[in-house]
Each structure stands twice: as structure tokens, then as C-alpha cells.
């Protein structure tokens, strides 16, 4: 069984990360009733003996040892202490080791250059050490998950610096990035600069990027809330959402209801994506999909590794008199633009590849049937008309009998990126706010133009492929045997 390390950078990264660990514990506790430390738990947690001041690591062995104390395989990085301190004061403090935290006091001021160049140089040794320590405790490390936002200073700057570091020091370990992109109305004025500067690092150094937009998450949460009337009204209405089943809820986790924060429901959705993606690698199933298979099948060309994700069903209905939403409905919903984690419409763009990660009581014939059904309404590129990757995990997520996570490489991302580029160019034409960046040591004005070029080339690659949506490029004839 392989292990993964989660590196959470910046306020956004740490908040999503916090929800991720809460939900991961909830999932494992609902499955692992006897408290045995087995391979599935070890993929994200260490079992430690806390009697020693440097907690001693207890290996999995034959998977029959009891859990003594769990420590998350995580590295928490933030340049201001607020968020991390809250985590360490809260109910999950036992899960993190103080040696896994790297904090500073004053923050990065929404400035990518300060995050990347200044703090990067200052904390390079410490970050490298912390990650090395975490990696050495892994039996077989397979990938790093880096969670950060693109609009801020620490997340985008220091986050992309950490990504570079991981690429240099661990070139064989896969790097998955969950990046939260700023929406159109973002309260940070320099967010376009930060995002574009960070994007170039992501294009060069990440194996897979899962972009997430806040606006999309807000819409999904609203959709779920509409189906879930407020408890105060106490109306017995049909279609009441089953408690604890929505992907935006954290019920059953360590954090109790009254302590939930406003962004928590949105962050839960993002955290669930990570959980569902790794479920097949942790639990058994008839068609296992490991994380390296995701990169292999969904990334046809090196730079085009931006994957659009969507999750269904959003919740399960608790009223037993209503027939359960049919399985097929779940598959259809997954491709609608309301369920995607970025504001984009993949149905009207070209699919390069698509992965369906199914969990729970679904059979391979159901998947085949739905693929045949949906094939006609989705446009795939001509050399990959059957570009489906399926994964089937027997273990269902908490609160639902089955679920589906779609991860697709679709050309609709170029719309999002074009929007970002336009906002960048608007500011850059006037050289507004540039001096804040160039004041920082080692930051050159060329970094801006190079990042813009890198973004433009990625957009162009996607656009070129999309042009083939209706007229495929002519293919070379096959080899002839004389």
C-alpha cells in the first residue's frame, strides 16, 4: 500500500486541508470499527506511540495492530500564524505534530514575490527537512498532494516554491495540486498577478492540477441547501436530505456543528474530491485505479494536465417513499455544468480524456451502459473517441450507497484561463502594483512576461485541440506490409 503526503500552504490551503483530515478520519472511523491500524489507514496516517517525546512510529506489520495514536502525514505551512494556531487549538490538534508546522508571523501581503522569493529563500532548508522527515516515515511514498490558493501571497508564492522543491528533490514522486482559482469578483486586487505567476510554476512542475473555483463551490452549496429546508421550520417535506449524506457536510467528524465555519461547506466539497480520488488506492475493488494511473491516462501531452472534476450525487434523499435517484441519473448529472468544480461547461467543449471513479454498490455493467448512453452527447477528440478510464471501488463514501467522481481533461479550462489572462493583462498594461513585486530581491520584470507567455501557450494548446471539435485532423495511413 502506498502512502501520500499532504502539503497545505497558506490560509486557503490549510482550511481545505483541515476539512480533509476531519473527513478522512470520519471515513476511516466509520469503516474501521475495530480500530486496527491497517494499510488503508496508513496511506494518510501514521500510528505512533506517544509515550516517547519524539513519537515512535509503529509500522503496519500484518495489519492487525491496534491504533495507538494517529498522526497525519501532513506538512502545514503558513506565513501568518492565525489559521494554523486555530487548528492546533481545535479538536484536531492531536492529529498534527508540532514538528510538521512551519509558520511565520507577518504573512506575505498578497504578494507572490514575497511568498516565492523571500519566504522561499528563508524557509527552504526548513521546508526541505520537514518534508524529508515525513517522506522517510513512509514505507512507499507515491505522491504529494499540495493544496493552496492562487490568488493570495503565501498560497500561490510559497506554494509554488514548495512545488519546485518537490520536483527537484523527489522527481519520481507524483505531484497533485489542488489549486483554488480566484473568481471574477475577487477581493484581492493583485490576484491576477499572483495567479499567473503561480500558473507558470504549476505548468512546469506539477503532474496534475485540479483547479477549483470558489464561485462554483458556492453554487453547489446553494443547490444542496435548497434541497435541505432549514431545521427550524420543521416541515416534513418530501425530498428532505438524509443527515450527513451531502458532500458539503462534515457531520460525524470531530468538529461539532456549532464550531462549523462559513467556508466549511465549500471546503468539504474540495476535500471530498481528494478522498474520492484516493479511495481506489486505499480500499479494495474489482477495478482498482491507482494515482499513477490517473496521471498516465488523463495527461496526453506534458503541459496539458489541468483536470476538471465533478462529484455526484450531491446528497442522498432520506424519505424512503421516494425511489432512490436512479444510478443513471448520477452519471448524467456528473456532466452537467452545475456539478463541476470550476465555472465551465465541459459538454460544449472537447474531451481529451475522462476518468470515472465509482464507489459503492455499482457493477461494471452499469458503468458500461452509462458510458454507451452518454457517449453520443459528449464530444471526444478523434484519436481518443473511447477515452474513458473506469475505476470501481467497493467501499462507498460515508452516508451514501454509491458515488461518482469524474476527472476530465477537457478543453473548457481554456475559458477560465483566458479570463485570468485578460484580467492580468488589464493590470499589466498599466504596470499597476508592479513595484511591490519588483522590490523583492531576485524578482525580475521578466518573470511577469515569461509567466504570461507560459499561460498563453497553454491556452493556445487547448484552443488548437478544441478547433478539432468538428473537423478532425487527417490521419496518416497505416503501415503497409509489402
Amino acid at each position: 500500500m502506498t502512502q501520500s503526503i499532504v502539503v497545505q500552504v497558506g490560509q486557503c490551503g490549510n482550511q481545505i486541508g483541515f476539512r480533509f483530515w476531519d473527513l478522512a478520519l470520519r471515513e476511516h472511523s466509520s469503516l474501521n470499527k475495530t480500530g486496527l491500524y491497517d494499510d488503508a489507514v496508513s496511506s494518510f496516517f501514521r500510528n505512533v506511540d506517544t509515550r516517547y517525546s519524539d513519537p515512535a512510529d509503529i509500522p503496519v506489520g500484518h495489519g492487525l495492530g491496534k491504533i495507538k495514536d494517529l498522526k497525519a502525514r501532513a506538512v502545514l505551512i503558513d506565513m501568518e500564524e492565525g489559521v494554523v494556531n486555530e487548528i492546533m487549538k481545535g479538536p484536531l490538534r492531536g492529529v498534527f505534530d508540532y514538528k510538521q508546522l512551519i509558520t511565520d508571523v507577518s504573512g506575505a501581503g498578497n504578494n507572490w514575490a514575497i511568498g516565492h522569493k523571500m519566504y522561499g529563500a528563508k524557509y527552504k532548508e526548513e521546508i526541505s527537512e520537514t518534508i524529508r522527515r515525513a517522506a522517510e516515515l513512509c514505507d512507499c511514498l507515491q505522491c504529494f498532494f499540495v493544496i493552496h490558493s492562487m490568488g493570495g501571497g503565501t498560497g500561490s508564492g510559497l506554494g509554488s516554491f514548495v512545488l519546485n522543491l518537490l520536483h527537484e528533490e523527489y522527481p519520481d514522486i507524483y505531484r497533485f495540486v489542488m489549486a483554488v482559482y480566484p473568481s471574477h469578483e475577487d477581493d484581492v486586487i493583485t490576484s491576477p498577478y499572483n495567479s499567473v505567476l503561480a500558473m507558470r510554476q504549476l505548468t512546469d512542475n506539477a503532474d496534475c492540477v485540479l483547479p477549483v473555483e470558489n464561485q462554483a463551490l458556492v453554487d453547489i452549496v446553494n443547490k444542496i441547501n435548497q434541497a435541505n429546508p432549514k431545521l427550524a421550520e420543521r416541515k416534513s417535506s418530501r425530498g428532505h436530505v438524509k443527515a450527513g449524506s451531502a458532500i458539503s457536510t462534515g457531520d460525524g467528524g470531530i468538529v461539532k456543528g456549532k464550531d462549523e465555519k462559513p467556508f466549511d461547506s465549500m471546503n468539504n466539497i474540495a476535500a471530498n474530491v481528494l478522498l474520492n480520488m484516493t479511495s481506489s488506492a486505499r480500499f479494495e475493488g474489482s477495478l482498482n485505479v491507482d494515482l499513477n494511473e490517473i496521471t498516465m491516462n488523463l495527461v496526453p501531452f506534458p503541459k496539458m494536465h489541468y483536470l476538471v472534476t465533478s462529484q455526484t450525487p450531491l446528497y442522498s434523499v432520506s424519505d424512503v417513499h421516494i425511489p432512490p435517484r436512479r444510478l443513471d441519473q448520477m452519471f448524467s448529472d456528473a456532466f452537467s455544468k452545475d456539478h463541476q468544480l470550476i465555472k465551465a461547461d465541459p459538454k460544449h467543449s472537447l474531451y481529451l480524456a475522462c476518468a470515472l471513479m465509482v464507489r459503492g454498490k455499482v457493477e461494471v455493467s452499469d458503468i458500461r451502459r452509462n458510458i454507451e448512453r452518454l457517449q453520443s452527447s459528449l464530444k471526444f477528440i478523434h484519436w481518443n473517441r473511447d477515452g474513458w478510464k473506469t475505476g470501481l471501488c467497493n467501499v462507498a463514501p460515508v452516508g451514501q450507497p454509491y458515488s461518482l467522481l469524474t476527472i476530465a481533461n477537457n478543453t473548457c479550462v481554456h475559458h477560465t484561463f483566458s479570463g485570468l489572462r485578460d484580467r492580468f493583462v488589464k493590470l499589466y498594461k498599466r504596470k499597476a502594483h508592479i513595484h511591490h513585486y519588483t522590490h523583492v530581491d531576485n524578482m525580475e520584470i521578466e518573470d511577469f512576461s515569461e509567466s504570461l507567455e507560459s499561460l498563453t501557450s497553454v491556452i493556445k494548446e487547448y484552443e488548437t485541440l478544441e478547433k478539432q471539435i468538428n473537423n478532425p485532423a487527417p490521419s496518416l495511413p497505416r503501415l503497409q506490409v509489402i
Binding site: S286, L287, V299, V364, R368, E372, D386, T390, S475
Partner: protein
């Protein structure tokens, strides 16, 4: 004469589990009354099966198998299921697994894992081979779509050929669903087949699409899972690998069968057709006779049908309009009541075979009075014919179209493969297609 089974990758291990399960159930779990043979003959049969597929170790029956996978979950599941059946077990020491999978990457399986693990895997195979009194050959189970089964499977087959130059090697490859289980399955299939063609003696093709159709249309299973499909595959494999005798009383050892089926090294692709298939409930109510079964099976061969429903009866041997399926060689396996009365002359028709082969020699038939797996009469045909051409052509088409756009190629190059290797594989398979087309 014993056969050592190598189960490679998730598919190989899952199919292998069902294959041994099927053999064990058929051999040990049938009441004597149903078997249609006297007690002594039955005992002889049981002994033959034990010699072929199992070895007696530490008081229990252990399968002669080596299980290889790059991640541990599937091997664990298969071993547990075997133990639960109570009929046989897998030897825990004959398992090899690593922690990280091959990521559906043929180059990773072949070049990276191959060189790293081949020594240990070959040691296990050597140990298993030494347990046999007389080693007949190796039976490898693998898929074409993934990374381990296809890549590592191809590498190990090469190693086995180098280590055991006089043994027979048959590879059972599982063709993935047409609409994709893995996106790069076409690349993996092309690379695997071209390499297997060099080192293996016979490549037995099983297609997931066809097996699923059998499950849904003949066995009436509503929600088909992979274990249902694997049970069908296990049934088909057991139906021709279980002991049987030919007219001059030679036993159907792997070598005998392959010598007949693969007369020419350029023609190595085999396919299986088995009838009848029906759900448990229907078996009690059906009475079928040999002439009917033989007629269906012959037409299945000519019209290239994979099961007994939906056969195109319009295709006839004499028609010049519709082309029919030509074969190089056929082996017929008949099991059950009254096998000696069966007329198999329809399979000896000279029009089925190319003109440069003597038609009487093209059919080998093997029979066994003992009923197989609850069917009182069952027939199986293993043929070296043009059947796999359609799927093969399809796969090469798709792989080539991807290759011309150079999609995903960087993932293979990352692990040491070069574009020339791709081109070589394409060339090899185009040659195979041409050979079969010209039959």
C-alpha cells in the same frame, strides 16, 4: 504432466482464481452419480487433475501457481477466496508483490519493473517448476490493457522462454472492453502482442465484450460483475485444459494440443468457443442432443459467432458472397454422455482450411465420458482462425490514430521506450494481420 500457471496483474489473478475454482469444483465437488463414469475412472481423472494443476503440500491441495502483482490487494483477495472455498489453496510463498503499481504504463511494467523484479519472480517459477515430476509447460494469465499484466507479463514470458527453452508456453490474454477501461489500452495491447509473438507458443484471446454478452444473454445475469465474467472465462479454460483423450488414447497435454493448433510460427492466435451456456435453473429443463450442439458449434465457427445465440445462419461454406471464417487448425473437446457417438465430420470440411493444408489433419478431437461442470453434454472448440482479426484491426487502428498525434507517448518515453519500439510493434502486428487475411 504438470502445468504451472502464472497469474500476472489484477486481471490475471482474478481470472486465475476463478479458473482454479472451476477446476476444483468440477473435479472434487461433483457427486459420482452425476459424473457418468465408474468410480475407478473417476478416481483416475481426479488423480490426473491433481497431477496437472495441484500439488499436495503440508496436508492441503495447493495450486501450481505463481501470483505476481505490483500491489498487494488483489493477491490478498484471491488467496482469501480460495481458502474460503475449502477445495484448494494458494501457496503463500509463491506470491510476489510490490507496493506501487505500474500505472497502466506498459513501459513501466516492462522496462522498470521487469528488470527490477525478474530475478525474484524467476526464482519462484523455478521453485514451482521443480515441484513437478514432469513439467509440461506454462500457462500465463494476463490482461492487455493494464501495466503490470501486459508489460511485466510480456517481460516474464521472455524470461521463461530463455530459462525453459523446451517447455510450452501458452498466454491467455484478456482483451479489454471496446469502449475502454483504460485509455491507453490500445498502446499497451499493441506493444504486448508484438512482444508475446516472439516468445510465446500460443496466444489465447478472450474478449471481455463477448464474455459479458454471454453473461447477459445466455446466463441471464442482471447486474454483471467482473467475477461473473471471470467465471465464464474459467469455465471455458477448464473445458479444454481438463484431461481428455483423443481417438488413439493420447492425453490432451499442453504440448500435444499446441503442436496441433500452432503448426506454423506465424499463426499463433487462438480463440475459444464453448456451448452450451445456460443459467443453473435452465439446465434442468433442457435436453439437447449432440447433433444439435455440433451443428451450432460448426456454424459458430463459420460465421464467427462467439455464442450460441445470434448466429448468422446465412453464412455458408459454399457462398462466395459472404466471406466465412477460415481456420488453420481446430481442436474439439467433447465431454459428457455418449461422446463416442458424435459425428464431427462437419469440422473436417476442406473448405474451412487453406488449400495448402491436408484437411483430415486439421481437426483434433478429444473426448471424456465424464460430464463437465453440471452440463451433461458440453463441447468446446479451440481454433486458430481469423476470428480475432476484427478486434485486432480495430485496436491497431485506434492505437495508430493516437500515435500519429503523439498523444501519451511522452509517458512511455519517460520510462525508456523509444518511438522506434512503437513502430516495430505496429509493423509486427500488421504482418500478423496480413498473414491471417491471406489464409
Amino acid at each position: 504432466m504438470s502445468v504451472v500457471t502464472l497469474q500476472m496483474g489484477q486481471c490475471g489473478n482474478q481470472v486465475g482464481g476463478q479458473f482454479f475454482n472451476m477446476i476444483a469444483r468440477d473435479t472434487f465437488d461433483q457427486s459420482l452419480a452425476k459424473c457418468n463414469v465408474p468410480r475407478q475412472t473417476n478416481q483416475q481423472f481426479i488423480d490426473d487433475v491433481c497431477e496437472r494443476f495441484f500439488s499436495q503440500e503440508e496436508g492441503s491441495l495447493k495450486a501450481r501457481a505463481v501470483m505476481v502483482d505490483m500491489e498487494p490487494k488483489v493477491i490478498a483477495m484471491t488467496t482469501t477466496e480460495a481458502k474460503r472455498s475449502g477445495l484448494f489453496q494458494y501457496n503463500n510463498k509463491q506470491q510476489f508483490c510490490q507496493k506501487c503499481g505500474s500505472g497502466n504504463n506498459w513501459a513501466h511494467g516492462f522496462l522498470v519493473h521487469g528488470s527490477k523484479c525478474s530475478q525474484q519472480v524467476m526464482d519462484l517459477i523455478q521453485k514451482e517448476a521443480e515441484k513437478c515430476d514432469r513439467l509440461e509447460g506454462f500457462f500465463t494469465l494476463m490482461s492487455l490493457a493494464g501495466g503490470t499484466g501486459s508489460g511485466l507479463g510480456a517481460y516474464i514470458t521472455q524470461c521463461v522462454r530463455d530459462e525453459f527453452p523446451h517447455s510450452f508456453i501458452m498466454n491467455q490474454v484478456t482483451w479489454p472492453f471496446d469502449t475502454g477501461e483504460v485509455i491507453v489500452q490500445n498502446y499497451n495491447a499493441v506493444l504486448t502482442l508484438s512482444h508475446l509473438y516472439q516468445s510465446s507458443d500460443a496466444i489465447l484471446i478472450v474478449e471481455n465484450d463477448q464474455e459479458q454478452k454471454i453473461c447477459s444473454q445466455l446466463l441471464n445475469i442482471k447486474k454483471i460483475s467482473f467475477s461473473d465474467i471471470n467465471e465464464v472465462i474459467g469455465h471455458k479454460l477448464a473445458s479444454f485444459l481438463q484431461p481428455a483423450k483423443s481417438n488413439n488414447l493420447t492425453s490432451n497435454h499442453l504440448g500435444e494440443m499446441l503442436e496441433h493448433l500452432v503448426p506454423h510460427p506465424e499463426y499463433k492466435l487462438l480463440t475459444m468457443k464453448t456451448i452450451p451456456f445456460m443459467s443453473e435453473n435452465n439446465i434442468q429443463y433442457s435436453a439437447y442432443q449432440w447433433p444439435g450442439l455440433v451443428k451450432h458449434l460448426t456454424q459458430m465457427l463459420i460465421a464467427n459467432a462467439s455464442m450460441e445465440e445470434g448466429i448468422d445462419w446465412g453464412v455458408k461454406l459454399s457462398s462466395t458472397g459472404l466471406a466465412y471464417n477460415k481456420s488453420m487448425a481446430n481442436s474439439l473437446f467433447l465431454r459428457g454422455l455418449d461422446v463416442n457417438t458424435v459425428d464431427v465430420s462437419s469440422f473436417k470440411d476442406g473448405r474451412l482450411y487453406p488449400s495448402w493444408l491436408p484437411s483430415e489433419a486439421c481437426l483434433a478431437s478429444w473426448t471424456n465420458q465424464r460430464t463437465f461442470n453440471k452440463y451433461e453434454k458440453s463441447a468446446s472448440l479451440v481454433s486458430n482462425s481469423q476470428t480475432p482479426l476484427i478486434s485486432l484491426n480495430h485496436v491497431i487502428d485506434k492505437a495508430w490514430s493516437m500515435f500519429t498525434s503523439r498523444a501519451y507517448v511522452h509517458q512511455y518515453i519517460k520510462h525508456g521506450l523509444a518511438e522506434e519500439d512503437f513502430l516495430d510493434s505496429f509493423a509486427c502486428l500488421e504482418q500478423v494481420i496480413k498473414n491471417y487475411k491471406d489464409l
